[in-house]
Every structure is written in structure tokens, then in C-alpha cells.
Amino acid sequence: MSGKKHYGLWSEAWMRLQKMPRAMFCFWIILGLLLLSLSSWLGLNPTAYGFDQTGNEILQGPSAAHLMGTDELGRDLFARVIYGARLSIAIGFSVAGIAFIIGTIYGSIAGFYGGKIDSLLMRGVDIAYALPDLLVMILIGVLVGRGTAGILLSLGLVSWMGTARLVRAQLLQLQSEEFIDAAKAAGRNTAEIIIKHLLPNAMGPIIVALTFTVPSAILSESTLSFIGLGLSPPACSWGTLASDGWRSLRTHPHLIFFPSLFIFITVLSFNQLGDALRDALDPRSRKR
């Protein structure tokens, strides 16, 4: 596969993606959420209220002044949900990044060397897979503390196994290709072969896997925060907002409804886009 053909794969996938209206819809939603998160990091606020601005109008239902109502301190829920995107989206992407780095390095070593090293490393993946994620996350969270860094680390440590397996399988498959023999014959060293020749050709499935890692990280963070073992106030993510709302489900259901809705829409969009991307990158699977 030359560089030209590689470029062809991506532009062709993009063209196929554009023919799927549902996938494109999800793509634009995700882009919007990303911009929202980015604007919050830059200190811009698209809403009329500050996320921690208290007021006298407490526990109101949705109205024209407060699109999603207010909480027990009179804070505008719409502003808080928009601000919550900052942490939730950032956590999703950072965890995918961590999973990508650990998984790619681990999987590359296993896939490139094969044999004993491979089976030893894959046993490690099996063990890591077998433990319930939430159990591991809670234990790691206890160990490193429950701030944003602790959450990132514990989520990252339960998310890399899928990528590692995938990278390994791709590398094992690509090893037998002639261009790898050629690279070896030309005297390229191991790192060069993996980074310049093997990984670029395995990128498609890895990107698809990462598209599924982002929503599962967002789900895990919100679940952890919900049961009180993840982020805690004053940190503001969709998970902590939903957790706050849970306490007043009986009297003020809007407080849990809107953060949950945003989690749901985000996760759904990523999952749908991931499905579509997988089909677009692999024409053989399109019949499914």
C-alpha cells in the first residue's frame, strides 16, 4: 500500500459517510458538543447566566428565563449543563487518548514480537478484562484520589485492553505483507517499522475502536460520579449534575432529566457514528 492509496482510503470513507444522513447528523452533534466544551475551556459562556451564579429563584421548573429550570441554590441548570460538557467531553477524549497510547504500545509489542512474549502479554489482557470495570475503577480511585486526575487514570486503566487486542491482531496480520519484508530488508529498525509501516495501515479499525471508547468513558464517569465515587462538587460534570438531581427526583425531576438527556444524546451520537465509521472503512461489513 503506497501513501497515495492510504489517502484514498480516508477520503473514500469520508465520501461514504456523507451518504449516511444519520451518521452525518451525529457527526455535527459531536462537533457542536466539542465546540461547546472548547468554548468553556476558553472561558466563553454562551448562556445568560454563570454556571455557579446563585439567585433567588430556586428550584424552578423550565421556563423562558431558565430553559432547564434552576437548582436549590437558584443556579441556572442550562448554564450548568453547558458548563458540564467541558469536563464530560474532555474526560471522554482524554481517556480515549490514554487508551490509544497504552493500547497501541502494548499491542504493538505483542503483535510485533509474537510467540512467548505475545502469549504472556495477552494473558495480562485477559486478566484485566475479567475484572469488573467499576470494581477496578473504584479501587484505583481510592488509591490515587478522586479528583479529575484520579478519574482519568482509573478510566484510562480499564479502557486500553480493547485497543491493545486490536492493534496486536492487525500487526500479526500485516507482518506477512511484502512491504514489511522490504522495510526489514532495507535495514529499518523495529520502532521505525512499527510506527512508519505497520501502524498507519492499522489505523482504520483503531480509530473506530476509539470512537467507542469516548462514549463508554463518558458513561463510566457519570456512573461513578452518580454513585458518589467519582467526581464530587464543586467539580461540575454531567455525572455530578445527575447525582445532584437524583436526590430530588421525587420533587424536582427536571434536575436529573436534563443532564441525563445530554449524556444520552452524546453517547448515542458517538455509538451511531462509530457504527457508521466501521461500515464506511470496511466495505465488506456494509451488509450488516
Binding site: L131, L143, F226, N271
Partner: protein
Amino acid sequence: MLLLVFKRALSAIPVLWIVASLTFLMVRIVPGGPFDLDKALPPEVVANIKAKYQLDKPVLEQYGIYMARLCRGDLGVSYKYANRTVNDILADAFPVSMQLGLLGLSLSILVGVPLGTAAALKRGSYLDGICMLIAGLGVSIPGFVVGALLIFVFGIWLKILPVALWESWRHMILPALTLSASPTAYLARLTRASVLDVLDRDYVRTARSKGLSYWQTITAHVLRNALIPVVTVLGPLTAILVTGSFVVEYIYAIPGMGRFFITAVSNRDYDLIIGTTLVFGVLLIITNTIVDIAYMLLDPRMKVEG
């Protein structure tokens, strides 16, 4: 098959030992101890309590004491629930979690597999579209949102079902539904893909051409082969159910292992944390062994390494 079970049981011992040691180390490295919350206590009293639970000794000695007790099947005592041993607490909590888990598992298999099969057989129809829409929504909605929705509709709005505790069968309906939501969707998607894959195979065409009826072909050839990947995920599915039950037990105030684990972590109840983790470990090892045996029964060609 007996040999497989024996081998698995043997290899489980070092795994559980590693899990116990790691958890032991983790809970003790963590800042904050089990008696930090009771700030009113004078230091002498705290020292006395620590002496009672042998927490004043060096960590290595504590580890020795713990492991010696563990070998005798004694999981230690809880610091929070005074005078209750961990064995005692888990003996009460485990059956509850087990009941909830089995209910959730059967519900998701009974709904998910037929749904996925129907969708695959009627590919491209409205039925398929609706099934896949439901499945797509099901994997994207967090467990606590499903729980909150069900509680709101059936408990608060319609007032027809209890929303907390674990007493009669009526208490089990909402938790079981909440727990099974995501695995059902997952199984439906998987079954659909698997059945579609098998439907294209040559042996299905052969079965049809030798005169087997449509339903005979589906039950004897298609389903039997299509269910192998479904059985494969029962292991990971158990992990999903365990994780789900943490949330479900928290939401519905069910006195199961997940709930005890969450409170144990918050309270730094050392022995209870390790004990619960070990029980989860044993559970996962057993499920994986069952899955491997199920493989052999479904497809005799498969050789499972011990």
C-alpha cells in the same frame, strides 16, 4: 470436562492470592483510615480500637495475620457494622445479589436473543428497524437513567410498584428491568449480527435444498451455530451485570454485595473491601469456566485449553 474444572480451580488459587494481596496493599496505602470519621474520639480510645483490630501492628505483620485467617476461610471482621464478621455480611448479601443478577441475566437472554433473531430473519423490515432502534438506544442509556425513569413512571407517577428495598417479588421487578436494559440491547445486536452471518453459509443452503422446512433449518442449523458468539459473551456479560448491580443496588437501596462494597470503600472498611473483591473474583472465574464448558457442548470440535 472434570479435568478442565479441576485445572481451573487449581489456577484460580494464585489469581485469587494476587487479587487479595493487591487489594490488601491498595486499601492500606490509601490516605484515611477506618476510624477517621469519628473525630470526637480521644486518641487513647482510637489506639484501643486499633489494638483490638490489630491495626497498630506493622503492615507486613497485618498481612501475615490476614493471609493466615484467609486460608482458614475467615474473611475478617467489619469495622463499621460492629460485631459482624465479613463472612456473615457476605452470607446475607450474596444471595440477594445472586437473585438480582440471575433475574437480570434471564430477562436479557429471554428478550434479547429472540429480538435479535427476529430482526435478522426479517432484515430490512419495520420490525428490524424498530428492534435495532431499541437496541441502539439501550446501549447508550446509562443504568442510573433507566432506573430514575422507571422509578419516576412506576413508583412516583403511577404509584404501582415499590421503588426501594428487597422484600417481595414486587420489589424485584424494577431492579431486574433496570439491570437487564443494557445487556438486552447488547445481546440483541450481537444475535442479529451472528444470525445474519450464519444465514449466508453454504450449510444453510444445503439444509434447505435437501428439503428441511424453513423452521427446521432455523432451529437446527442457524440458531445452533449463531448462538456460539452469544455464549462467548456470557463471561463479559456477567461482568456487565456485576457492574450494573452496583448501580442498581445503590439506586433501589438493595442490601446486596454492590451496595456493601460502595459503603465499605467510603468507610475504609478494609476487610469488607477485600472480602467483597474476592467473592467477585471467584464469581468471574466460575462463570468463565461455565462458558468454556458450554462451548464444548455446543461445538465438540472446540478444544478448550485448561
